[in-house]
Symmetry: C2
Subunit: 203 residues, 2 copies
């Protein structure tokens, strides 16, 4: 005889979480129902509130409760620079490094045709639109130094090149193949300082 229907359903549902298979879902379910119902209550509510309240910032696509996130609204930031990152974690890592005071654009991933993630999924149209709007002087491509990150940066360079804006790539101060989350703030800050304009001519 299996578990009760509602227990089974919870085990099913937990498997939407990345890295959670049937065995860990079972362990999690029994933990919540046997030992930590209060924690389960908190989790269910926090999840519902986040799903209801959290959206994408209309300017940088980061997750926020506001239509435009606080950072995009903050006029102490240099809105003429736009740093393009793959994920909110990357943006957070750069913020912690303290080496950058401009705006961000969060792709929420990198180009990955095999997963059906193309320019539209990464909000590239919104990015180009924003650059065309004219108030941006420099776009800093701070995608990961991984193969996918480089490919994404290369694609964006081609798209941005015609737009009469300085396009630069974060310096290779970051170990090739690594991801931001793992790098100390200082190297990250250095890498941003050392960014080099990509050498193409504006005629």
């Amino acid at each position: 005889m299996a578990y009760s229907p509602l227990t089974e359903q919870l085990m099913e549902a937990l498997q939407v979480l990345p890295g959670v298979g049937s065995r860990s879902a079972e362990r999690m379910t029994l933990h919540l129902l046997e030992r930590d119902r209060e924690g389960g209550q908190m989790l269910s509510q926090a999840l519902q509130r986040a799903l209801d309240g959290v959206m994408h910032c209309a300017r940088c696509r980061v997750l926020t409760e506001q239509a435009v996130c606080e950072l995009c609204q903050n006029d102490d930031r240099d809105h003429s620079r736009l740093c393009v990152v793959e994920t909110p974690q990357d943006r957070e890592a750069i913020e912690v490094s303290g080496g950058y005071l401009g705006d961000y654009f969060v792709l929420q991933g990198h180009l990955s045709p095999i997963d059906g993630i193309g320019p539209d999924e990464l909000g590239v149209p919104l990015l180009l639109e924003r650059v065309k709007s004219g108030d941006i002087e420099e776009v800093i491509l701070a995608t990961n130094a991984s193969m996918e990150g480089e490919a994404t940066a290369h694609y964006l360079t081609e798209q941005l090149q015609p737009l009469k804006v300085v396009v630069s790539r974060i310096a290779r101060g970051i170990p090739v193949g690594s991801e931001f989350g793992r790098i100390d703030s200082h190297s990250l800050s250095q890498a941003l300082q050392d960014r080099k304009p990509l050498g193409f001519e504006h005629d």
Copy 2:
């Protein structure tokens, strides 16, 4: 700058799950909010429904939506035999093995003084009460062959001995130190067949 408040709160809440630290909670949160809000919706609801609807069976302490679980209500079962297991997974494993047709009592753990888990936490009073009620002829101690499982079986034997009931221990067909979840149904079924009465006298 950190994540938005509701996003942070979700990352916090996810860490009530066993084996989930801050890094995986972050990954899970972004996955749910960026890529699978529908799955998140399902999870939040399944969790709420389980917390509201799932309780312990009044007879065997297993998780169920009913006051008394279906198995305890099923009159095709031999209600004169009671198989004591540590967890619902163990009960499920024995059911799948098909080697047993009596009732169960689920301790929901094993004696572990260091974790503050004593006889009361395991529902031992309820177990003894049920045996005293007189309709039980045999109690099969099917706790794990681990040190804790053996200790728990030993304690239960002492408690049950005075109660004029046959007390038997599941046979050592199960590898010492192992846990039921990992054992094939056949060995488990055999081990149940081979159970031996514990040799003490009823005067």
